[in-house]
Subunit: 232 residues, 4 copies
């Protein structure tokens, strides 16, 4: 039987990061970290305040939403995480927040337009806002269907989750992901900053254009392209 | 004669929470905690700065606004608290703040529309904004009449205070309540967040719709319904 | 010869309060404290960062702007303070900040409308915005004329500085005062909060009305009237 | 061979200031400090988080972008710094941030209008927003061309970099400079404040005018003119 100690520790620290970065209050939000070798993931327990969270409280769940280890009930959003891990094989961590500006765009039911290099340093597309689900899907297996709503949105728009590591759920809020839980939190923080910058830019100049293609490509490529020269 | 030590301590800590959460400055705001067995409540003394507040400063008052214990004058809003405790039997604590975004909606004399799941996780209705009182009521027993203004608003709109734990007073600010003083503060903080999110969403998209009914019910029920599965 | 030690200490602490409350950055802003018995006042030295300020750096100046004690040059706004002390006999302290929302209204060249009880708890009028000075007055004895611009504004509008303890200077920023330097800082902080609330309320609802007269009188009187019952 | 220890230390401290002042998150932004005697400058290494930065990580580069000392790769924006140092002989430090309000104006592709004395205390002109580069320049030697875009903007508008110590790059963000790296950070912080004040003023009153010339001259001259009397 595998030991989940390190996975729990990574998940715990990523969750505490959500709180330290001001992306959540009280018990809002959750982060998970996957172990691909055992097809299980660690996730925040449901409704536990961050100040009271401890590494041993983290719950281990498999991709069919069964608890493998842990005494507490896992996050109510667990099925959304499971669906994303099962369908998107290259992600190692997922974060869900109710960060203010990200939620505001989700409540506005609008994509966040790519308006500057801060955005293009991380992704080459507008941050997609998936529409609210149909009443049938909401009344059914809601959190599972939330996952499907996300993957459907990416499929319909032809987006690659490896290049667009974040999404807004209309009237709800953001999900972000990455190679591990820490990067999922990083993308959540960047999303909040990009959401705030786009909000302010459009308030200052409602006619402000999107970033031109040449700048989108340049900034994304210098960080993520074959000949990337950003970082060490 | 009962000892009010624990009640005072709970009231003190809830008041300090208002300050720590950034919902008040200086001497603004007040929280009370009720003891139903003796029909008395503990409340912040009037005009005392939070940095100087101590548990023994908390004042004990009955539902007829008579001081039962304490050397200081109770909050100038005491009669509003007394009225609410007397009329709404299931509340254990009340908080009043001048939190910025909550006050801004009150000054705009507008209900806060339910625009996202953050809101629906806590209540299924727009946050009601009670209209400013008539001149006669203001010139009369003002703080007592403020309580009546709140209960009248709920009666006229057919709202249940157990399901809508918060209100705005037009041109003044918010009152929130809950099963105890700590939850009243929690609802005050959630209200401020919901007020800020709705403000930003409408700035981004003035035509942004309210949350659809299916999502309102789903999110409220998973936290508060008979088959709730949020939390431990 | 009088010792100015206590006056300097009070002035120093009030200045540090400006910084702690987030009303200034770097060397911006200044607070003074008057000693009516000697017709002198203590004021922040010019261009000194708050982190480097010490009580002994505070400069003592008389109402004719002559330095009475201190090695440093007094604030460049000293003449404005001197004029206000000389003309308004009941004030004990003055604070000048570049707090963001207060400055924004000054740059908008608009009075801050009285829109809520937070405002009416402190004053019964819109916060006046004095117009920018004529070119002749600017090119002349600028800081002295700034004081005249403030007292002229109050005289022309029939305002009483004892009841309206704050003003905006068009395109510049706020001055506030009170019975002592600490209260001048308190009024500066309240002004910033009121400026932010009015800004947000008008963004939410551009047609939001001013507070009705009965509420203005009620809230001001319960704190400042003959039968005030707020505080201890 | 010269020792760069002090230059690295000054550069390190200025970079840490960016982070402490809230002008950057994660690895965003960079500050450099020049040594005119050796025509080299110290600059932040690329992609290193501020919490992990140490003085010995700072990289020394010459004006032809060659690393003179240091084991890490210098900032990806190094060529922009080199160009500015080579062309503008009187600057001692340069700072680049992604501060929120500064970026918002850059994304709006608008100059920041001079609307108050806070602005005029530091410069007499609108903060210029250089247009985004042509596709050819972006695809070419991008960071070098970014420098040219800045100096071209100043040349075409007849601006003096000694009097206008900051610029916005359209859709990107701000660069600021000064006599040393600490002053470059100071100008970045002032720019962010001025950007926020102008944003708010225009939201309150879209027709709010620019500051009148007499006030611009007065405020700039009392701090920077021949007969300056601000400071010690």
């Amino acid at each position: 039987m595998p030991s989940y100690k390190e996975l729990k520790r990574a998940c715990y620290e990523a969750n505490m990061g959500l709180n330290a970065l001001g992306l959540v209050i009280y018990t809002f939000g959750n982060v998970s970290a996957v172990d691909r070798s055992t097809s299980t993931f660690a996730i925040k327990p449901s409704g536990v305040a961050y100040e009271q969270l401890a590494p041993e409280d983290i719950v281990i769940v498999d991709f069919e939403n069964q608890v493998v280890e842990g005494k507490l009930r896992p996050s109510s959003d667990t099925k959304t995480h499971a669906w994303l891990y099962k369908n998107w094989e290259d992600i190692g961590g997922i974060a869900h927040t109710h960060a203010t500006y990200s939620v505001a765009w989700a409540q506005a039911q609008m994509d966040i337009p790519i308006m500057g290099t801060t955005h293009a340093d991380h992704l080459t597309e507008d941050v997609p806002c998936a529409p609210p689900m149909s009443d049938e899907l909401i009344a059914g297996n809601y959190e599972h269907n939330t996952g499907i709503q996300i993957t459907d949105c990416f499929r319909e728009r032809g987006l690659d989750y490896r290049e667009v590591p974040m999404v807004l759920l209309g009237n709800h809020g953001p999900f972000a992901w990455g190679k591990d839980a820490a990067q999922a939190v990083y993308h959540s923080r960047v999303l909040e900053e990009v959401a705030r910058m786009a909000y302010l830019a459009r308030q200052i100049n409602p006619a402000a254009p999107r970033l031109k293609d040449a700048l989108i490509r340049k900034h994304y490529e210098r960080k993520h392209g074959q000949n990337a020269y950003y970082g060490q």
